[in-house]
């Protein structure tokens, strides 16, 4: 549905995105993840035909976004980052205008508007002037205009930015619903959002793609490469050096840090890499005459993957120095 090949865009001399290549099959919900200024909005603006590219190709449903811009634009619904709306218009009037501009046939127009209003939960605000709507409601109007003409591709730039938690949840539900009928690309710098809504994640940093996989596989793969972290609370009259020595004997353990957590209580952080690490560690602790109060694997989140993929070299160094 969407093909992007070697897309590069320079603002003056500064590259905004460099050599971005990906393709999205029909019906997929794709998350575009990256820190602010990574090039997410630029990529979306090129896909929607608002900006041109410096080099590379992008097409929607086979129509090149540059040379067959109009055909490509007919197939997309787009919610820009700033969610611009005509403030002086009423919700229905605005959606009607958007229908007209996107060439929805007169006989379908009313049904399409009703559908968008229904899906976005704007039923009781349909005649409200847009300027009087709250931020969350404006966002819904923005979503409604993006889907009102029943586009094949829906492109949402930071759809939940600035919403409160309840609104964010509603929006996510809505996006999932959209994913059933449409191909959706959404950008975000919020990880939980992407892992909750998207089947696939592209991580972009400083204008380059650094990862492209499902959220689960990304965390799994990253876990395999970087190991896991296990926190234990042990109790017993054993010296910290003794605990450390015992636990280090367990297969797959890389690092053991023991710190006192009170009367004969020890907090232990183990990093290592093996499937049954928690069980092995528990056995070793019991064998050493320690009571095991707590064993917890620190679950790797997409956030860890994201942070490590997008962190600058000097940022990593800085962190190491602090530690």
């Amino acid at each position: 549905m969407i093909e992007v090949q070697g897309l590069t865009k320079f603002y003056d001399e500064r590259p905004a995105i460099q050599d971005v290549t990906f393709s999205v099959p029909k019906g997929q919900v794709l998350g575009f993840l990256g820190p602010n200024g990574a090039g997410k909005s630029t990529t979306m603006r090129i896909l929607t035909g608002f900006l041109g590219m410096s080099s590379g190709k992008a097409s929607i449903d086979g129509y090149d976004v540059f040379s067959h811009s109009l055909e490509a634009r007919r197939r997309i619904g787009y919610l820009p980052e700033t969610n611009p709306l005509y403030n002086e218009m009423r919700v229905v009037g605005f959606l009607d205008l958007m229908c007209r501009l996107r060439g929805v046939a007169p006989s379908k127009r009313r049904a399409r508007i009703e559908h968008a209003i229904d899906v976005c939960g704007l039923e009781d605000r349909r005649s409200e002037i847009i300027a009087r709507l709250s931020r969350g409601l404006r966002q819904r109007v923005g979503l409604a205009q993006a889907i009102v003409h029943d586009p094949e591709v829906v492109i949402l730039d930071e759809p939940t930015a600035g919403l409160d938690p309840a609104q964010t949840r509603e929006t996510r539900t809505l996006i999932k619903e959209l994913g059933r009928e449409h191909t959706v690309i959404l950008s975000s710098h919020i990880l939980s959002e992407v892992s909750a809504t998207c089947e696939r994640v592209l991580i972009i940093n400083q204008g380059r793609l650094v990862a492209d996989d499902t959220p689960q596989r990304l965390t799994e793969r990253f876990g395999r490469e970087h190991g896991q972290e296990i926190e234990m609370v042990l109790r017993g009259d054993v010296k910290p050096e003794g605990i450390e020595a015992k636990l280090r004997e367990v297969d797959g353990v890389d690092e053991v840090v023991v710190s006192s957590a009170g009367d004969e209580l020890w907090e232990v952080v183990v990093t290592g890499n093996s499937p049954g690490l928690r069980e092995e560690l528990t056995r070793a602790a019991v064998a050493a005459g320690l009571g095991v109060r707590e064993v917890q694997a620190h679950k790797l989140t997409l956030e860890d993957v994201f942070l490590s993929l997008t962190a600058d070299e000097d940022e990593i160094q800085e962190q190491e120095e602090v530690e």
Binding site: R45, F50, L101, G262
Partner: protein
Amino acid sequence: MSKSSRRRARAKVRKQVAQRKRAVPATATKLHAVRTTRAPARQVEPPARTVAKAEVEASRPGFADAVHAVLWRTGLLNVAAIARRELGAVFVSPVGWVVAGVFTFLVSGFGFIGTVLAGQQATMDGVFGVITGFLTLILVPVVTMRLIAEERSQGTLELLLTSPVRDWELVVGKWLGAFVFYLLLVATTVVYVVLLAVYLPDKTTISVAGLSIHVGALDFGLIAATYLGLVVVGAAAIAIGVLASSVTKNQIIAYVVSLFTLLAIWYTAFLLGLFTRPPLSLFFDYVAGYFRYQSFSLGQVALRDTVYFVSLAVGALFLTTRLLESRRWR
């Protein structure tokens, strides 16, 4: 065991307890929230969906759709939609009403009371003077300054140009919206033609569609020619305003740019023509908008003057389109 480490342990325990406490209600509220948000949505959805379906069935694609499909390809429907919104926006905003109010006040004050009643001249010259000297120069930029500059600053330009709207459709639509507003303002002055025709003591008889009407002795040909001139002058002035509005996000800058551009086109070349000799002065005389609409108010509908203003309008709109397109090349 040191004091501080015990404190740390207690803090840790407290933290753990708090975490556990938090964990339970968190899931509870989540479930609760899901239930409350989902349940009413389900109740509402079915009737709404059926309504939508019923409408789809009620209005089958027919003749209207076929016409729409043909017209849509030409881009004229987009032009109309954009112009309609623009006109709506003018009447919603105070700016439109202020412009209309100021214009009406000046026309009645200077154009009618000053010239006709106080000056005892049975002419429309005062009214036309207000339109050319004030409306097309000072008020038109007020209306046009926001056209594209506001779209840029509000970001709605992105919304329009990522819709299947060609750049020229946007530009012409914007121009048309302001132009219709201008025509409405100019049309209000027809009231004074009627007043003159009814109350002028010198009467003549004209025949309209076989009927003889007794009206005031006015040069109706001259008035009609002048109105035609005002239409093309306004078209050009608004096109220049659209161009000025497209170069900036700032409406004040857009206003100043269009005001000075209009001043330059209307009067600068006229002044230069006074101080230069032919053949240069002939060039300036032609370029000066001032002379061009002067000839309309002499009752002449000259092709070259019409061509002058129409090409000014088309040129400005073309340049605006190019400016908008340039974003894709940068």
